[in-house]
């Protein structure tokens, strides 16, 4: 092998020029079948996003049991990139076994990779072997690894027998171990808890009080053990002791409250009254009194709420603390008029502090129970006026901080939104957006305003939405919980992928944020084992699982595909294959986890009314059923485009639906539950009809199927005419364009030979006519962002010119 050319490959890799490195590797491999070059090629494939090629080549190389350290290093990086930790672990294990040494680095690498793969059986088998040959203290460390691996096997066991075996083995192992620190005490406690040896767990913890004092995790698990033992007297005494000692941890209030029955309610009231009197700054004691009143449904709750109000009304947390109790009064039909009067008076009392008046406003709105449009608008004007008058309170506040008057602007905006939800009149949203834009000029730090603006812009079909999303600077760890505010149905508002650059995270390559997060989690799990931080073992596993099975990740992937499908004149077969493979990767939709955080949307609505999330709802929530239905649509269309056989279940569904018997089909239940939008349901129906076109042999038989597709496509025009909200109009047109793209994939274009006699000719011409007509009528009625509609019009013009593709 020419070392100069080999060095050149390394230079390309160092510079991140993977495409050139791939070309050079391929060129070298034409004259020499060097495994080192092949391993570097696999690595470059993985880094340049050619994952399938990288995986195939790496697996081939592993099968040849390489021994060269250079090849192993390249395979290590490649298989780690691909998250193929099990293959890597097996490779190192083979080396370890072959070398005959019990403690070489291959054993550790094997163990680390089994940990990254969460292969707990293999971790246990390797670590138990190491624990027998290693010298102290390493032998002890590996023994604890085995115990932890057995605990995780017991948690993941599919049946009670498997669980019992794992726990029995773990119990035998711990018999020979001494518990030296809080982490080992934690692991052992969890083991006893899972084995239903709660007394043993309690005994163990009683011997390790010093560890409990320094570990909040151990303290928490201690309470859990006592609760599971129903040891009320110990819980009560311990909690009481801590509270009398000055504890401000509400976990201790909660622990005490969990033991209180009707018979000792007075004793509990006396305790918390005493504590509240001694420490008037601590909210927890008054909250505990309110909790007791709520629990026993006595008549003191309004008085206690009033007491809390007078003590803490100027704290921003006041509304959050009181909301649950005030809501309880409403739900139990108790008289809240005195409280409403109290809060209304405070709201209008100019001598009260601003924070007090803001809390009063939130509570007054909640206790209004329900409002009229006129009331919403007058409240909005009042709150907007307060926002204006209190602007001076931000004079000495740095521009990086939240403006003290921000919540007035949020309150005013919520009132306009409430008026919109009652009337569906978008002028209220336009007023809200103008107001919020002016509020943002004074101070742009309020995330509540930003999120509300995103939701309002979405309904108004305004492209300003993308600027606000970018302003939020969503970091990688927040993609799963925060980005949905800006990215839900983002395809409706974007004409090209340029619109969503920096908004929609790239989910198509392994470098995407979720893939990166998964790799980080795997790496950290291996380090957790090395450090023996057992209190976080289940937490790390749970967290990794939530990211791996993220629902939002797949929703965003679909949004990316939809934007691409709509803007591309021609989609390459390579892309279609990649999408098809990705669809298979989604797997079982039911197992996906929804971590989207909706609580960020401020919600101070009257109790009998829906919250801001529902009030600003349009189209669909894009939940699991939506994803499942959409996945099937694309599976059907891509199968046709790639000449693949559809999956059996999809075939059955097709037969079922094609016979116009939608009553019991699995796919139809998704539609009945309105998980797809009306426009998406047209696409869905077309995806069910299209396969029949291929099943027919002659043109005469194909023609009626094409006609059926065209008739269904005609529904888009009717839908657009009915659509009221700008986002609904945009969505309808965008799905019509998406459907047109998918029809082109599913039904072959008219052949040049047959021309107008092609069975698909009327369909293609008909769709173009339908799109032209839609655009013409929509131009007249479009009420949203003019530039967005103009660009959409251009897109339609471009997309109907299919003959030039």
């Amino acid at each position: 092998m020419n070392s100069l050319r080999l060095n050149k490959i390394y230079d390309y890799i160092d510079a991140g020029r993977y495409t050139e490195a791939v070309d050079l590797c391929k060129s070298l491999l034409t004259s020499s079948k060097s495994d080192l070059v092949r391993s570097l090629l696999a690595f470059c494939y993985s880094r340049s996003g050619q994952l399938k090629e990288a995986r195939e080549l790496a697996v081939e190389l592993v099968a040849a049991a390489p021994t060269s350290s250079d090849i192993l290093a390249a395979l290590n990086l490649t298989l780690s990139d691909l998250k193929e930790y099990s293959i890597l672990a097996d490779l190192y294990r083979q080396h370890w076994t072959r070398n005959g040494s019990n403690l070489d680095s291959n054993a550790k690498l094997s163990l680390a990779n089994y940990t990254k793969a969460q292969d707990y059986k293999s971790i246990q088998s390797v670590s138990i072997r190491l624990s027998k040959v290693a010298k102290p203290p390493l032998n002890n460390m590996y023994a604890w690894w085995s115990v932890a691996a057995l605990l995780m096997q017991a948690i993941a066991a599919e049946n009670s027998q498997e669980k019992l075996i794992a726990l029995t083995l773990a119990s035998r192992l711990v018999d020979g171990l001494t518990c030296d620190n809080a982490q080992q005490t934690y692991l052992l406690t969890r083991l006893y808890m899972l084995s239903d040896k709660l007394d043993t767990a309690a005994h163990l913890l009683s011997q390790h009080q010093d560890h409990i004092r320094t570990s909040l995790a151990l303290e928490e698990i201690h309470w859990d053990v006592l609760k599971q033992l129903n040891d009320h007297s110990t819980i009560k005494n311990k909690a009481r002791e801590l509270l009398l000692d000055g504890s401000q941890n509400y976990a201790h209030h909660s622990a005490y409250l969990s033991t209180v029955g009707q018979e000792d309610a007075q004793e509990a009231v006396a305790l918390f009254e005493d504590l509240a009197e001694k420490n008037t700054k601590e909210r927890g004691h008054v909250m505990a009194l309110m909790e007791l009143s709520k629990q026993f449904n006595d008549a003191t709750l309004p008085t206690l709420i009033e007491r809390y109000w007078h003590q803490f009304k100027n704290k921003p947390v006041c509304f959050d603390d009181l909301e649950v109790f005030v809501k309880h009064l409403y739900h139990t039909n108790q008289d809240t008029s005195a409280l409403l009067h109290l809060f209304t008076a405070a709201l209008h009392d100019e001598h009260e502090a601003q924070d007090t008046r803001i809390n009063a406003a939130k509570l007054m709105r909640s206790l209004s129970i329900t409002t009229t449009i006129e009331r919403d608008l007058s409240d909005a004007q009042y709150f907007a006026q307060q926002w204006k008058e209190y602007q001076y309170t931000g004079n000495d506040v740095p521009s990086t901080d939240i403006h003290p008057a921000d919540d007035w602007s949020v309150l005013a905006s919520l009132c306009y939104i409430s008026a919109f939800s009652k009337s569906r009149d978008t002028s209220h949203l336009e007023t809200a957006s103008s107001f919020m834009e002016s509020a943002m000029l004074t101070n742009g730090r309020s995330y509540k305003l930003k999120i509300l603006m995103i939701a309002v812009y979405r309904i108004l079909g305004s492209s300003k939405i993308f600027g606000i999303v970018r302003m939020m600077r969503i970091q990688s760890v927040q993609q799963d919980t925060l980005s949905h505010f800006g990215c839900s149905e983002v395809s409706a508002l974007s004409i090209t992928s340029g619109d969503v650059a920096g908004v929609l995270p790239n989910t198509t390559t392994f470098r995407s944020v979720w893939a990166q997060s998964e790799r980080e989690c795997s790496e950290m799990l291996a380090r957790l084992f090395e450090n023996g931080t057992w209190s976080h073992l289940e937490d790390f596993t749970d967290f990794a699982m939530k990211l791996k099975l993220s629902l939002h990740k797949w929703i965003l992937w679909f949004e990316h595909v939809r934007v691409t499908v709509s803007e591309s004149s021609k989609i390459e077969e390579e892309d279609l294959r990649a999408w098809y493979e990705k669809l298979e990767e989604i797997g079982d939709v039911d197992s996906l986890v929804d971590s989207r955080d909706w609580s960020l949307l401020p919600n101070w609505s009257p109790f009998a009314e829906s919250g801001a999330r529902e009030q600003l709802h349009a189209l669909t929530y894009q939940q699991k059923k939506w994803l499942r239905a959409y996945k099937r649509i694309y599976e059907r269309v891509l199968s046709l485009a790639l000449n693949k056989t559809e999956k059996q279940s999809s075939d059955k569904e097709h037969e079922h639906n094609h016979n116009h018997n939608h009553a019991n089909g699995e796919g139809s239940s998704d539609i009945e539950e309105h998980k797809l939008t009306d426009a998406e349901r047209i696409l869905h129906d077309i995806s069910l009809i299209a396969p029949s076109y291929h099943k027919q042999g002659s043109d005469v038989e194909k023609a009626p199927v094409a006609q059926q597709v065209l008739e269904k496509y005609g529904d888009f025009a009717a839908l657009l005419a009915q659509a009221k909200l700008p986002v609904e109009q945009l969505h309808c047109v965008k799905v019509a364009i998406e459907t047109w793209s998918l029809i082109q994939l599913a039904v072959p274009a008219p052949s040049k030979k047959k021309k107008t006699k092609s069975p698909s000719y009327p369909l293609y011409q008909g769709v173009i006519e339908a799109l032209k007509t839609m655009v013409a009528s929509w131009e007249k009625q479009a009420s949203a962002d003019a530039s967005l509609f103009a660009r959409m019009h251009e897109l339609v013009q471009r997309r109907i010119d299919y003959k030039n593709v």
């Binding site: 809080a182 982490q183 004092r213 320094t214 570990s215 909040l216 995790a217 928490e220 401000q248 941890n249 509400y250 976990a251 209030h253 909660s254 700054k281 909210r283 927890g284 909250m287 803490f312 704290k315 921003p316 947390v317 959050d320 603390d321 909301e323 649950v324 990086t400 901080d401 939240i402 730090r445 995330y447 939020m472 970091q475 990688s476 760890v477 927040q478 799963d480 919980t481 925060l482 997060s517 980080e520 989690c521 790496e523 950290m524 380090r527 957790l528 450090n531 931080t533 209190s535 976080h536 937490d539 790390f540 749970d542 967290f543 939530k546 971590s595 955080d597 609580s599 960020l600």
Partner: protein
């Protein structure tokens, strides 16, 4: 009405109300998990009964000899939950744990300019009981410069 617990990785999925604040940095997952692995007892969360996260603290113990101290890496309270002494509560807890876990001489917290914007940091220190003569702190600390490199300690 605040529950003090050990911070968990899954709390990362609900810390937006805290981290959307301008002064609160959002780090990579591995940053948070490194702390949870190495100093699980010094990573603390505050939770409201409605399950929302109110604030958190990430700390560590570092330095040798008289430099052996507890360091607060991140401390943030959500805007809604400010002005009720939560940060003090977290600092008291941290001070207590730093004294017991690995007896330290002081605890410190660095703010302003520590994040690479060319400014120096304020190195705010509080002596702990082990530092009987309070040798680790200065009364006129605000008059002394403290560069980022001064905040790197050997372990």
């Amino acid at each position: 009405m605040t529950t003090i617990k050990a911070f968990k990785s899954t709390d990362i999925l609900s810390f937006n109300k805290i981290n959307l604040d301008y002064w609160t940095e959002t780090y990579s997952i591995s940053f948070y998990q490194q702390y949870l692995i190495k100093w699980p007892d010094l990573c603390i969360s505050l939770t409201h009964p409605d399950s929302s996260l109110m604030g958190y603290l990430f700390g560590k113990i570092e330095g040798r000899g008289m430099d052996h101290h507890g360091h607060v890496t991140a401390l943030s309270i959500s805007p809604t939950h400010r002005k009720i002494g939560l940060a003090s509560q977290l600092m008291k807890q941290f001070e207590h744990l730093s004294s017991i876990l690995s007896p330290t001489y002081f605890i410190d917290l660095r703010v302003v300019g520590y994040y690479g914007d060319q400014e120096d940091a304020y190195d705010m220190r509080k002596a702990l009981p082990r530092d009987v003569n309070k040798e680790t702190v200065r009364q006129d600390g605000h008059l002394h410069r403290c560069a980022p490199e001064d905040t790197i300690f050997e372990n």
